[in-house]
């Protein structure tokens, strides 16, 4: 019984804390014909909270990396993120250029500085 539970639990967790809390907003959009004003104060505050959460996740993935990314020194990861972001700002706010430059710096720095 507990073996089955161990197998099923990741899928149950996916539905409970991944699928349902995400899908509820699409469903609300379908059910409420007119709905919330996308410029309302409540939407503004929720968006700010969500933006801060995503930024927090991003920074954690860079600073407290796991696995293979952790074999590349922290200084290289931070420098790569900074260079990528600078390139994004300089080149017409292009996501593509930002990612490309960040990855190139990470690869070069990792190649030169990894143990």
């Amino acid at each position: 019984m507990s073996a089955v539970w161990t197998q099923l639990w990741p899928y149950l967790a996916l539905i409970l804390v991944g699928f349902l809390p995400n899908e509820v907003w699409r469903a609300l959009g379908l059910v409420l014909a007119r709905g919330l004003n996308p410029d309302s104060e409540l939407v503004l505050l929720s968006r700010a909270i969500a933006t801060a959460i995503i930024a927090g996740v991003v920074a954690k993935l860079i600073v407290f990396s796991s696995g293979a990314l952790d074999t590349i020194p922290l200084a290289v990861r931070l420098a790569a993120a900074a260079c990528g972001f600078a390139a994004f700002l300089l080149v017409r706010r292009s996501v593509f250029v930002g990612v490309l430059v960040g990855e190139a710096v990470l690869l070069a720095g990792g190649f030169l500085l990894s143990p």
Binding site: L16, V17, L30, A48, A68, L106
Partner: protein
Amino acid sequence: MHGTAAPSEPRHPFLEGLASACTSVFCLVLAGTYIGLGALAHDLGFTSWWFALSTVLIWAAPAQVIVLSSLGTGGALIETAIGVTLSAIRLFPMAVALLPLIRGGARRFRDLLLPTHFTSASMWVESLRLLPKMPQERRIAFCNGLGTGYMGTAVVFGFVGYYLAAGLPPLFAGTLLFLTPMSFLVSTARNSRALVDRIAFGLGLVIGPLLTWYHVQLDLLWTGIGGGVIAYAIHRLRRMVS
């Protein structure tokens, strides 16, 4: 050499949507994003099928990053759910704006369920651009084709990233893992047009790692509430002053 396309039989709108998805720039963006997410899923110990299912069910990259990093590092379930639902609020105005465009072509309510589930930033942008030129009765099938094309791309490249991360030497696997934070760093910055979003973005970058460093419980939730509320307060104060 026949330079002109045969006007005779119009393609089925589903196939037209599928073709439109595969030739769009978002296809490339999705491929890159999901290679990174697939690598992250491998790194955090999820199975590749679990990750593919999460792409099909959640179909929102920011929510998937939160689920992966939170569940993968033993975060609290309630914190994961709150983070996901806050990141998903943006889907609501998208669905509200998209559905009136296709509602006219629906004979039954259930015809709208699939297009509703496909609602995402890429699908929304392309639909608003392409649907108004299209007859009502073709729009739902077109949306389903578009959504299927995007989701199929994401699932396939999720597997690619997952197995590349498993097989590559550490430096290259590390480069794949870096795709997720790097692409979200710049794409979130690009989506942050209003000052309140930019302040929240900057605060989140600083508060997130600090709380983790000090081993604060529910760190992501506090990052969101702290960064979001401070940014919102600054926005209100500025408006009161001006």
